[in-house]
Structures are given as C-alpha cells and as structure tokens.
Symmetry: C3
C-alpha cells in the first residue's frame, strides 16, 4: 500500500516551493519533475512569501544558507504554515556549524515543520539542542563541529545491530518535536511518534553522488503535499521510491559509468516509476 | 533559410553575459557552449557592468532574483544597451509574484530589451501591465498570482484552435513594446510586429525537464548576437534549433531513460547540429 | 610515481571546503566525490569560517563573486591558513573585470594560497599586477578587459613553440609569489619555482564543457590536501588525472553525444580511475 502515494503525486501534480542550496538545486528540480510534481525556487523574503502562496508545499534546505536566504525561509515558512501547507526541513550540516545548527533549531521552533529529514548526525544534533531541553549548566550552548560536514558520522549509523535503539530514538524525536522525522542512511527510519517505517531500499553508492539527500527531501515534500491525509505513509513511500530508484538506476549502469551518470539514472528511474513498480520494489516493515 | 543563423553563431562565437537563476544556470552555460558561443556569468552590479563590456549580448533571466541581482541586471542592462549589444529578457514567473512582475516591467521600460522570451502566461502578464497602459481605476496595480509558478496556464496555451488570436497578440505585443517577442509552448510564436514565425518543433516531454525555457533564452541570445542584422529570423531559428534538438534527443532515448538523461541529450543534439540539419528539421511558417 | 597521489586521496578521503561559483558548483561537488574526497560548500562569512575548521583544504573560486561571498572567502581563507590547511585559488576571469582582478590579487596577498590554478590569461593578469611590483607611472592600476571572459586568449596559449618561455614564466611566478602555480590549457604547466611539470593529457573538446577548470581546481585541492608533503607532485597528478579522464571519457562517447554527456563521462572516468590507470595514462615530463 505504498505505490498509491506516487500515483497521487502524478494525479495532483503539486507545485513545490523550494528554498534550497545552490549546489544541488538543479537535481532537486529535476527530481520533483520526475515524480510528476513541479518545482519553483524563490528565496528573497518578499518574493518567497508570495510565491509560496501559489504552491502546495514548502521545502526548506539549509545548505549554503546565508542571512538573506534565512530571512526568506522564515517569511515563506510562516506564510506556508498559515495556509496549512506542509513544510519540510532538511537540516543539511546541522552540527557542523553554529549558524546551521541555530537556524535549523529556530526553524524547528518557530515554523514547526511537518517533516524533518536528515541523516542521523543532523537529527541527533537537533535532538540534543532541541527547544525546551533542560541544560545541565544553565547556559545556552549550541553544538557545532559534531557533524562531519554534510555526511553522518559512521559511528552514528543506524545498523541492524542498533536498530531497536534507532527506532526508539526516531519515535521519541517525532513525538516530542511533534513532526514526522525521516532519518536516512543505509537503513532508513520514518516515524510520526507512534509507528516507525524501517526501510531497506537503496545502495551505498548513492552517497558518492552530491545531493541525493536534497533530492529525497524535494521528493518527500511532493509526496507529503499530494497526500495530506497520509503524511507518514507518503513520506515513507518517498524514501522507498528514492531507494528503489537507486537500485534500478544501478542495475542500468554500463561499463565505465560512475557517479555523474548514476545521478541521472536515479532521476530517470523515478521518472519511469509507477505505483505498481514502487509497490513491488519497496522494502519496508512497520514497527 | 534558417540554418545559416546557426552557422553564424559557430563562425562568430559570441561571448554571452548571463544574469540568470541558479537553478538552471549550468545547463544554460552548456547550451550556449553547445551552439558554439561562450557564456560568462556575473551578477554583482560592479562586476556585471564591466563584464558585459567584453561580451556581445546580454541574457537577463529573473528566476531566483533578489535585490542584489536586480541591481546587477540594471547595471549590466544599461551598459549593454549603451554599447548597442542585444539584450534579452526572460521574465520567469512574471505574474507569479509582485517582485517578479514589477522587475520584468521595469526592465521592459528602462532597459528596453531587444527580445523578450517567455511562456504565454508570462507574456500576457507583461502585456496586461505594460508601461503606459491606461488603467480603469487609476491606481497602480501589478498582477500577481495569475501564473502557475513558472509554467504557463494550460488554458492560456497557444493551440491550433486559437492560433490566429495568438499571432495577432504576438504582433501587437511586439509592435507596441518595440521588441521581438518569442512566446514558447506547444506551438511557438516569434514576432517583430510585422511578421510572425509559427514554429512546430519540439516535444511535450521537454516540459518535464527543468530549465528548457532558460536554455532556449541563452541559445536565443547567442543567435541574435551573432546575427545582428537578422534578429527576428535568428530568434526564430534558435526556437527551431531547440525544438529540433528536443526531437533528436528524444529519438536517441534508450529504455529506462527519463528527464535527467533527456536534458543531456537535448544539449548534445545542439552540440552536434549544423546548419543543414537545422535547415532540414525546422518546422515553421511565416505569417 | 603519479598514481600514488590518487590512492592517497581515496585512502584519506579529505573533506574539501569550496567557496565557488554557482554555475559549476554541482559538477565540482561530484568531481570531488568521484576522486574519493568529500565536498562541502559554505560562503556566508560566519558559516564559512567555522565550516572550514572541520575540513582539510579550502578551494576558493572567484567566478560569480559578490561582496558577501568575498567576505566569506577572506574569513575562511584566514582561518584555513591559521590551521595549516592548504588553500587553492582559482582566479576565474581575473583580467576580465576590476572586481575579479582586485579580489584575486587581494587573496594572493592577504591569504597567500598554497596553489593558484588558472589559464594563462588569468595567471598573466595576476603576474602583471602582482603585489610589490614596481609600476612605471607610479599610480595604482588594475588591469581589466585583458581577458576574453573566462577563457584564455588564444594568442597567450602555451604551445610547443613557446614552451620554454612558458616554463620559465611558471617558475618565475611560483618563486616570486611563493606558491605552486598550475597554468592549464592545451599543454599544462605546474611549478613550485624549482621544477615544472609539463603535462600533455586532455582533449580540446573539454573546453566546450562549462566548468572543467573549476572541476580541476576542486580535484587539485583534494589531491594537495591528501598529500601535504608532496604538494607539487600531487597538484601535477590531479592535472594528469583530469586530462586522462578527458581522454577516457571521450573514448566512450557514442554517436550523437555532445558536451553535456561528455561532462558526465569525464566525472565518471575519475570515479572509475585507480592509481595504476593514472600511472599508465599520465603524459608528463619534469623540467
């Protein structure tokens, strides 16, 4: 019962507003088009607040953030929430710098995104610094330097060995923050606090392409926007779709091809995917 | 007599200055290189005004605009016009927000671009808010929200059924604004006010790739710059070249390929195209 | 003895901080991933200064620079140097505008990059305006307009005919500025002032892809960072690797493919390259 969420994206073709980093923005746009939705990008506060009105959902990604685009994120975020549009936060590099950690936390607190998608290191940074958490020494302190750039710490990966802890953590995060959380890695976890999808699609080589996480966030925002009554399942379906596209794309790789072509093959696989393919290829359990 | 305009681009290899959105800028650069011209990007006012001097033409694209880059557009636009360089305006998302509509109108009024290329929704927004148009209620009002993001409204498409109205509109726009207008969609119209090229190249799937419109604007700016005495025919030739590349690229698509690979195949097709191929493949009539 | 430097990149997987133009940034990221390193981009001064701390090397590229990102370059550059990280400067378009020339010179003087990589036109602009150079007429004057955009003047190309002068120039530049200089073109020169690598890998068609120079700068920064005791040889190895990837990628081009696909095939070739392949394919001599 996962395939239907992709069918809904294609049926409703939601327009997704993205304020996202300039590194991977083109791939995010093509990924959103590949799944049947449409992207628009606008990050100047004045423009962003108005553009978001004609959209169905908002995807906030803090990679290559700056003072001006942060202002745009808050302007668009407030407007989108006021209109009842789903808002997704991708806290790229939270934990790697104070500005990123602080911005992600502020968006979490003031915009209250419907969905947060990141790697385990980023999500843990948000958790450890979450609003309202009592601090032992009483002083405000925002962690930085804990994240190895935009990739999760290997030691922090969700594995078969620590899966129970991972699931418990995802549920606790979602429940306390009041959102859907998607923690992506070799094993992906998507939870709303009550149940947790454990997803085993994907291939390790996807991490050698820049922006597969950003692309997934765009895809997830489209899925959640097109399935407003089933946000958790839709978010999980997008993770399955991305992972499955990684598997299909890899199976089509030819001799001599590497990460640049693999990037295209993954987007192509989403473009070609229908609900049945997703249904049959999705590898998940609900816990 | 369309192929020669591509030959001229390859012969003269003009340098094209682009102030364009960060979503599709890489594809615009590769498209300009594919046709035999060279791209340069500079958007900081101080830099942009000076860079444009060493270029032959200027491509202004208002997607992801911000206060700083708007300033750069005016600085470069004024300088380019002062030097007699062709200036092209791509009013991405005009009608979708006040900032975009207002900026496009201001560029139209103060820079007076030689060519404006957009979809029917964007061009209609400019027309309805054009400088000097009498307003019924006397107050300034800039439309926003009329455009579905960066894609034209389906109801506003130029079709075989409303073709006569489309041609009349294109001619009226070009004549009153005093520029060449290119209205692109399933059927493309390019007019200088006196005659109108009606072009039927291209494939519907091109709209599932981000930035085919932006790429065409870059291509068109190169064609017009390399053919200063034949701007209308050169602009029309670029539309034929882009559409033909969409047809050739599609014919080379292999099993499992989608919009990401199609993007590459279109740019590749322009790279491989010569004047004869364009001549034979161009599907247009002059009205 | 060139292949080992690639093996070291894969063994150490350095994290490279890039402040680079938005035109080619995605390709730079994928190229850095292709060679086994990891990229991170951050250009807001506050963020950039902190992000660079968790990285191993810093790649500064002045294409599409603006006041804000220039500030970021200096903040990150000072921090990186303070930590002993290698800093690379890619003076894109130096000579084409005052802002670019001045910024490149200021970075050269105040940050003192370990490596400078550019085309002959850009490097000559830096040389003719280098800090401390006596000026005949006593007044400060920064050249602009000498560069044809971001491509080197043809007349300034390093050729077999003027190779001796080229080598002497590269050595003089490196010695006086106190850095490694890489002058890339049909023939590439990499010198530390004492010796000079003369490299004949690559294909002319690489210049019809946007950003092969930017990609090489990212690659070179990764190589130098992973081989801190052998910076000259590592920088030369990266030039061989890029050129060899251009040869391998070209050999895999199929009928109808052009510059967009060639771009992917080059990155793919680096992804697939190992030390032995580089060793056998590198075409260089040391002078």
């Amino acid at each position: 019962m996962i395939g239907i969420y992709l069918d809904q994206v294609r049926a409703h073709a939601p327009l997704i507003h993205n304020i996202t980093n300039y590194v991977t923005v083109n791939d995010v746009a093509n990924m959103i088009l590949a799944c049947g939705a449409s992207p628009i990008m606008a990050d100047e506060a004045e423009d962003a607040a108005e553009i978001t009105v004609i959209c169905g959902g908002l995807n906030l990604n803090i990679g290559t953030l700056n003072r001006r685009t942060i202002e745009g994120m808050f302007a668009a975020g407030r407007r989108a929430k006021g209109l009842g549009h789903p808002v997704l936060l991708d806290p790229v590099g939270a934990g790697a710098s104070t500005l990123r950690t602080r911005t992600a936390l502020e968006i979490m607190e003031k915009i209250r995104p419907d969905v947060i998608r990141g790697n385990i290191s980023e999500i843990r940074t948000l958790w450890e610094n979450r609003p309202g958490r009592s601090r032992e020494n009483g002083e405000e302190q925002v962690s930085a330097g804990a994240t190895r750039g935009v990739d999760a710490d290997i030691k922090d990966a969700v594995t078969e060995e620590n899966l129970e802890e991972g699931i418990a953590f995802a549920k606790a995060f979602a429940k306390e923050i009041g959102c859907i959380v998607a923690i992506t890695g070799a094993i992906d976890l998507v939870s709303d606090g009550d149940s947790c999808y454990v997803i085993r699609n994907g291939r390790a080589q996807m991490s050698r392409i820049t922006g597969t996480g950003c692309q997934l966030s765009g895809l997830m925002c489209a899925f959640v926007t097109a399935n407003p009554e089933q946000k958790l399942a839709a978010a999980a379906a997008s993770v399955c779709a991305m992972g499955l596209a990684g598997e299909i794309g890899w199976s089509r790789m030819k001799d001599g091809e590497g990460n640049a072509t693999y990037r295209n093959r993954i987007i192509d696989a989403v473009y070609q995917m229908d609900g049945d393919t997703l249904e049959q290829g999705a590898a998940y359990e609900i816990r």
